[in-house]
């Protein structure tokens, strides 16, 4: 996989193998987690008191927004499978959706595995090690988006 920033505030991701494409398929699976993409909306609602009627007025919009973020990943994967596309372009128009989708994947992975509480060694279960590697990959992608598209200092 090659990831190249451009002067037009884009990231061009060239997929060079089937495993590169699978890395992006994992984003959807990780974001959806075992409890579904709506889980984050409900979790955030838990920070608000009952008077705010957050569940009634805000949570449905949050859920819809998060689903739209995953839709861009789903569509891109569909293009890769059906049209043999090997390039993903993340630009200023799509970066908020991509960032949201990948960040969702990180949030759900960390909720499931609590990486900050694990002391990794050779005895760490493989499924956790693989999940952590994906988390690191997602973090790298997010950092590139912040540096080269959002242009955060």
């Amino acid at each position: 996989m090659k990831i190249s920033p451009t002067s037009d505030r884009e990231l061009i991701i060239e997929l060079e193998s089937a495993s590169d494409a699978r890395a992006f398929e994992h984003i959807l699976a990780d974001a959806r987690g075992s409890e579904g993409v709506d889980h984050l909306a409900q979790t955030l609602s838990g920070f608000m008191d009952a008077d705010s009627e957050w569940d009634e007025w805000v949570v449905p919009e949050l859920k819809e927004g998060y689903r739209q973020q995953l839709d861009i990943v789903e569509k891109t994967l569909s293009d890769i499978r059906n049209e043999n596309q090997t390039k993903i372009c993340i630009d200023e128009d799509s970066v908020e959706l991509w960032y949201g989708a990948i960040n969702l994947a990180r949030l759900m992975l960390n909720e499931r595995y609590h990486f900050d509480e694990i002391e990794f060694d050779e005895d760490t279960e493989e499924v956790i090690q693989l999940a952590y590697m994906r988390d690191q990959f997602y973090t790298a992608l997010l950092s590139l988006m912040l540096d080269f598209i959002f242009m955060v200092d």
């Binding site: 984050l40 909306a41 955030l44 920070f47 608000m48 705010s52 805000v58 919009e61 949050l62 927004g65 960032y99 949201g100 960040n103 969702l104 990180r106 949030l107 960390n110 990486f115 900050d116 973090t139 997010l142 950092s143 912040l146 959002f150 955060v152 200092d153």
Partner: protein, 96 residues
């Protein structure tokens, strides 16, 4: 026969207008969101300059929470909804 009546008007004190209760928007730390992302969100949502946004981000990171805005409840809820859209843990509380 006319009886003069004296009418005494007692002035009632003017009803005091209660100033509306201010509310804080509070952002909580989480182990996932990147620090420069949180700074960017504060700048986008509240229009804060970089220095102020970074200071609040560091407060979230080091102290677990930061009061990022204070004002009326309705606007506080609107800001919190925006922060949730950006996937940050946030809430509102009565300002003291």
């Amino acid at each position: 026969m006319n009886t003069a009546t004296q009418t005494t008007i007692q002035k009632q004190p003017k009803a005091q207008t209660k100033k509306s209760q201010p509310w804080n928007v509070v952002v909580f730390d989480d182990p996932v969101n990147l620090m420069n992302y949180v700074t960017m969100v504060f700048k986008k949502v509240f229009g804060y300059p970089t220095e102020k946004a970074e200071k609040m981000m560091m407060e979230v990171h080091e102290q677990g929470r930061s009061i990022v805005w204070t004002g009326g409840r309705e606007k506080a809820e609107l800001y919190t909804q925006q922060l949730h859209t950006w996937q940050l843990r946030a809430s509102i509380e009565k300002a003291t």
